[in-house]
């Protein structure tokens, strides 16, 4: 069957068009899986496109959804600004659009996600408390310019400002990548050696990379490592006491709520314009409840 959308097939079946930031990102894949599950449960047709991190592609995919006349669009934005035209176009075409996970500068019909600034704050506050407000910190950024990177940095730096005893001795982008961040950490161990007290990585992949480098250098027991996302690998590492903490971002709830909200909008049922799903700090104490 040609997938070309709403006018074909079952008259009553709602068609949802979704464009995802990148299906190579474990977190996004998790959100996506939950969306599919929910779509099946609610009996709606879900068309998923992968923007492969390109805002341009994302805009194009939304244009394509508009041409296909889908009933509602779910957008997992690549960029705050650059993905905005997608929202504008959908609204202009009178198709409701729901942002999931991160924001665009143009306000969509509804937003489901979490506040990345809060995640940055949470992680850095954990470090500050563990170090007693004094020590040398390293930050490994995500891909520069992406919303998650900008906001996680912002949150972390807010906390750093509160603790003048904490010194940010180095920061660099690990491009969300485990191998890259491992190399970075190896190099920092060369230049800063035992001077490093804590590492904050913008995601778990990079956190795990830094962790491995520290372990290889025999420094792990002296350095606190915290990252964000709570991917399976990271949860295992927290459980076994290798990783000090990760921040749980609830992919499942985000994905499910996004579809629910989208369907509500189409059915003209009442819906919340903004659903903020809180981050949760995961440490050795509470890790058990996050491991499936």
């Amino acid at each position: 069957s040609s997938g070309s959308g709403g006018q074909a097939g079952d008259e009553n079946k709602i068609v949802v068009g979704a464009t995802m930031l990148s299906m190579q990102n474990e977190f996004v894949v998790n959100v996506h899986d939950e969306m599919e599950k929910k779509a099946e449960e609610l009996g709606v047709e879900l068309i998923v496109n992968d923007a492969q991190r390109s805002a341009l592609k994302q805009v194009e995919q939304v244009e394509s959804f508009i041409a296909q006349k889908v009933d509602v669009i779910v957008l997992n934005p690549c960029e705050v600004e650059a993905s905005s035209p997608a929202v504008q176009k959908a609204l202009a075409a009178n198709i409701p659009i729901v942002n999931v996970n991160s924001a665009t500068s143009t306000t969509p019909t509804a937003f489901v996600g979490s506040d990345d600034t809060e995640a940055g704050r949470m992680a850095m506050r954990f470090i500050a408390e563990k170090l007693g407000g004094k020590g040398n910190v390293i930050m490994i950024h995500g891909y520069m310019g992406q919303a998650a990177q900008i906001q996680r940095e912002k949150g972390a730096k807010e906390v750093l400002k509160e603790y003048p005893g904490l010194k940010l001795i180095a920061e660099q982008t690990g491009e969300w990548d485990r191998a890259k961040s491992m190399s970075l950490m190896e190099n920092w161990i060369q230049s800063h050696g035992k001077g490093i007290n804590a590492v904050f990585a913008h995601n778990d992949e990079m956190g795990m990379g830094a962790l491995k480098a520290l372990e290889d250098a025999g420094l792990k027991n002296k350095v606190i490592v915290v990252s964000i996302d709570a991917i399976a690998d990271a949860l295992q590492a927290v459980k076994s006491g290798r990783l000090d903490a990760t921040v749980f971002q609830n992919a499942h709830q985000q994905g499910a709520t996004a579809i629910e909200t989208a369907v509500k909008i189409v059915k003209k049922e009442p819906y919340e314009k903004q659903v903020l799903i809180p981050f949760e700090l995961v440490t050795k104490q509470n890790v058990a409840q996050y491991i499936k």
Partner: protein, 295 residues
């Protein structure tokens, strides 16, 4: 041959709006591919395209905030940046005789860095409506990027097929020694070709920034490979001397149509990649084999 592949794949999707969507989507890649076609015909390569797209986008956007400068300023400055990059590539390739692969790999990295430095790593947004019109507006119902693509296509076509410069470009790629011995100023032509490629990348960068209403410092990574792929699928030989603008346009359309179709068919993005790769190999294989038979 490619035409056949295109028309076999396409029919289901040939609604008028969808064609316009596809062509619009293809326009950025086609602009880049036109430029790199010239470079490849001379026997070189240009890997800096994606970064030039990012830099020019960022720079143009910085001058395109509402109520600051007239529209001409961001356009002119953006183009100049692209031309400067292209000219730099051409200069090093011709003067220092460094392989174009290395030079443009270098400017690719430099360009990316500059885009990030100039934008401080943050997207440059809040652009004037007139600027955003370039990538988003239409004239007489035809989206502006499509019109632009058409104009550039015709200019490039004429330039390559009908002018002395075009003839010299083929000659250099076919046998540089012979071109030199025929009194052709090889260095100047090469300089021109890289500059043109840079200028077209700048144009693409401006259209792109306007289309997504932001100057994105990290956009465009990998664009160069897709552009080169379009050129090579369209029959341009990476060993130089052979190629055409029409072929490149068809190559770009093929890539665009495949990816659009797969999206429409709701093929999972993982399988999309496998299918896309396979179609490209198969299409070019059939093309090569049938051309050989004709020999």
């Amino acid at each position: 041959m490619l035409c056949i592949v295109l028309s076999v794949i396409t029919p289901n999707f040939l609604t008028l709006t969808n064609i316009s969507v596809i062509v619009k989507q293809v326009s950025i890649n086609a602009l880049l591919a036109f430029g790199v076609t010239f470079v490849i015909i001379t026997g070189g390569i240009d890997l800096s395209l994606g970064s030039i797209v990012a830099v020019t986008g960022v720079v143009a956007a910085s001058f395109a905030h509402p109520d600051t400068y007239p529209l001409l300023v961001p356009l002119a400055i953006g183009l100049l940046v692209g031309i400067a990059f292209g000219a730099f590539n051409g200069f090093i390739v011709t003067k220092a005789k460094v392989p174009s692969f290395i030079v443009t790999l270098g400017t690719m990295t430099i360009g990316r860095g500059l885009a990030l430095i100039l934008s401080k790593g943050r997207p440059v947004s809040n652009l004037s409506d007139s600027f955003n019109f370039i990538g988003g507006g239409s004239i007489a119902g035809i989206p502006l990027p499509i019109i632009l693509l058409g104009v550039v296509f015709i200019i490039c076509l004429l330039l390559l097929k009908k002018t002395t410069i075009g003839r010299y470009i083929y000659a250099i790629g076919g046998n540089e020694q012979a071109a030199k011995a025929s009194g052709i100023d090889v260095n100047n032509i090469k300089l021109f070709v890289y500059t043109l490629s840079g200028a077209l990348a700048a144009l693409a960068g401006i259209v792109l920034a306007s289309r997504i209403t932001t100057g994105q410092p990290n956009i465009g990574a990998g664009f160069e490979l897709t552009a080169i792929a379009a050129a090579v699928i369209g029959g341009t030989s990476t060993s130089g001397g052979v190629g055409s603008i029409t072929g490149t346009l068809l190559g770009a359309l093929l890539i665009g149509v495949i990816s659009n179709s797969l999206d429409l068919l709701n093929v999972s993005s993982y399988y999309q990649q496998v299918i896309m790769g396979a179609i490209i190999i198969v299409a070019v294989s059939i093309d090569t084999i049938s051309r050989k038979k004709g020999d």
